[in-house]
């Protein structure tokens, strides 16, 4: 049973991609950098190049962390839906297989200024 109900009950999800006027949601977070209280929610067209996501909104949001300037983007390890994954920076979100509401995580081993030893 998918819901306790007196008769058959089918619901409509509220956040389907067609509600976003040609854009989609992408969640991005930086592992072990918890100055940022929660993963970021970004709303972008699926044609956006991955490089634009990184150099644009993501880089701007990450600035507040003291490690931000030291990120070597060629060495970042990525996870998509919690699985290891390699992005193509020049391809679009869609071509990278980044679907609506997908969660991306970046890992930068060795960088961790705000964690007391």
């Amino acid at each position: 049973m998918t819901v306790a109900a007196i008769k058959e009950y089918l619901a409509v999800p509220r956040d389907r991609v067609e509600n976003f006027h040609g854009k989609q949601l992408v969640y991005v977070s930086w592992d072990r950098h918890l100055l940022f209280a929660a993963p970021f929610l970004l709303c972008l067209p699926p044609e956006t190049a991955f490089r634009e996501l990184v150099n644009g909104p993501l880089a701007m949001l990450l600035q507040a962390d003291p490690d931000a300037a030291a990120i070597d983007w060629t060495k970042v390890e990525w996870l998509k839906s919690n699985q290891p994954w390699t992005p193509d920076f020049d391809a679009s979100l869609a071509a990278n297989g980044i679907g609506h509401k997908d969660q991306l995580r970046l890992r930068t081993s060795g960088l961790n200024s705000l964690l007391a030893a």
Binding site: T2, Y9, V12, R14, D15, L34, L35, F36, A38
Partner: protein
């Protein structure tokens, strides 16, 4: 000649019988199933409604009398508070942030509870629970009203109180409490009783009301303290009703046990998430603190909750499934919330702030295993950013949990340095969660939770479409007044100026 006839007075027992149990009747031209159509679909089996024991034996006429007396006292004190500028007796206007959260998120919950109890009072066939639910429904609407009245005096002087009803519907953090009550109200009558009557009123309410009312007393808020006293005897009755409900259901049929256990697991976790905000109030928002969230949890959660579940063990009830994960979160959650509230304070109708050096010393002492190691470095960095004139604002908005609707600020139960990432796909759509507890609740009834109105994704849909200024108008948030850092706010300036007038000759 007229004979003087002595009026017959009913004994308590007869009165109770006539004014409760005798009010019921056997239907003659409709079946019981037609009259009470929601009694069977949840799977709970009740064989004899007369086995229901009323712990209070209170009848409606006595109820009105008691409540009216309390009301008179309450409004007398509220009036005196307003006339004597009671707001200037507060320890500090930072305290008001806790009050604003309460008014925007919790008082509407009282109203939701009123609607819920009015409904289940109609849906249960037994007269005993019908009368008890009716009284609780009236209590709850009275609580909503008296809370709003108690806090209305602050609205004359301070920001953030003026649009609590709009904010209840539209601003992001209130959807946590709203979805909690919506979930209960859209469940069946038995689940509602376990959710609100038992899990919330019995297991968790002490964690909300005791710290909140003590916090008000410690911080000079006579208005809220007065409300607390006025509601106290009602709360005692609600707790007793909650306990009676669970015992009654479990004694009626052994098949009820697994259903009830599942609800206890669910509603403990949902309640724990909603009440998480109380942890921040206790550890950060009260200028004069009562006790730490950890200390409150040890008393009201571990000791009282532990004793309760020991008592229920004879029915086969086990402590809620999320209990261990809750325990692991206790030393982290208030810090995780406050960091979020500070960095998103441009979007809150209350103020947040960076804890002072004194505050941080208190936090290290109360959280010796977590604060200095994990949270102090973040606050110190945020302090540096503020001192450099670039205060930290996180405009990234937040990923929300599909079930509890909180920003996913929580870490893995066994790794406080790593955000807890949980997701699932249902009918081709992806959903995210803050914890295993919330994911389990979703997976048990996905068709219910896919409808969640999540305020962050909604911000990018009609009618706001990602425009932050439009969003502020839509949620009735006055930018530069209601929101942002307490330091430099109108509330701070006004409170200090007025208090200066009251206490000095300048």
């Amino acid at each position: 000649m007229d004979m003087k006839v002595t009026k017959k007075k009913l004994g308590l027992k007869d009165k109770y019988k006539l004014m409760t149990r005798d009010l019921g009747w056997e239907p003659s031209y409709h079946s019981k199933d037609e009259l009470y159509p929601y009694m069977n679909y949840e799977g709970i089996k009740i064989h004899d409604w007369d086995k229901w024991e009323d712990p209070f034996r209170l009848t409606m006429d006595a109820y009105w009398k008691y409540q009216a007396e309390k009301e008179r006292k309450f409004y007398a004190i509220i009036d005196a508070h307003a006339q004597n500028n009671g707001h200037l007796n507060l320890t500090d206007a930072r305290y008001l942030s806790a009050l604003k959260i309460f008014l925007q998120a919790i008082s509407p919950g009282e109203y939701a509870a009123h609607r819920g109890f009015a409904r289940v009072g109609r849906e249960f066939p037994g007269v005993g629970p019908q009368v008890a639910c009716q009284m609780q429904a009236i209590d709850e609407i009275r609580h909503a009203q008296t809370q709003i009245h108690a806090m209305s005096n602050y609205n004359r002087y301070y920001n953030g109180f003026h649009a609590f009803a709009d904010q209840r519907d539209r601003i992001w953090y209130t959807s946590v409490a709203r979805s909690f009550f919506d979930d209960a109200m859209s469940a069946g009558p038995f689940e509602f009783m376990i959710a609100i009557g038992f899990s919330f009123e019995y297991v968790l309410t002490n964690l909300l009301f005791v710290p909140f009312m003590s916090g008000a007393a410690y911080n000079g808020d006579m208005a809220t303290v007065t409300f607390g006293f006025s509601a106290q005897s009602d709360e005692a009755r609600h707790m007793t009703l909650g306990l009676e409900v669970i015992k009654f259901i479990l004694e009626q049929d052994p098949d009820n046990l697994p259903i009830v256990q599942n609800w206890i697991d669910k509603w403990f976790w949902r309640g724990f998430r909603v009440l998480g905000l109380v942890s921040t109030m206790m550890d950060y928002m009260l200028p004069k603190r009562v006790m730490s969230w950890r200390e409150a949890w040890d008393i009201y959660g571990v000791e009282n909750g532990g004793a309760l579940f020991k008592d229920l063990a004879r029915y086969g009830i086990k402590p809620p499934k999320g209990w261990d994960d809750a325990e692991k979160a206790i030393d982290h959650m208030s810090h995780q919330f406050m960091l979020g509230l500070y960095q998103w304070s441009f979007g809150t109708a209350f103020h947040a702030w960076i804890p002072s050096d004194d505050d941080m010393r208190w936090l290290s002492a109360k959280y010796p295993d977590t604060f200095d190691q994990y949270y102090r470095p973040r606050w110190e960095h945020i302090k540096k950013l503020a001192a450099a004139g670039t205060p930290f604002k996180n405009y990234g908005l937040a990923k929300l949990c599909q079930t509890c609707q909180l920003p996913t600020v929580f870490t893995e139960p066994d790794d406080p340095t790593l955000t807890c990432h949980r997701e699932t796909v249902y009918k081709g759509e992806k959903y995210h969660f803050c914890s295993d507890g919330c994911q389990h609740i979703f997976e048990n009834e996905p068709e219910k939770y896919i409808q969640a109105w999540l305020p962050m994704p909604q911000l990018f849909q009609d009618p706001v479409n990602g425009d932050l200024g439009e969003w502020m108008k839509w949620v009735s948030l006055l930018d530069g007044k209601d929101n942002g850092d307490y330091a430099g706010s109108e509330d701070q300036k006004n409170f200090e100026a007025w208090r200066g007038l009251a206490t000095t000759n300048q």
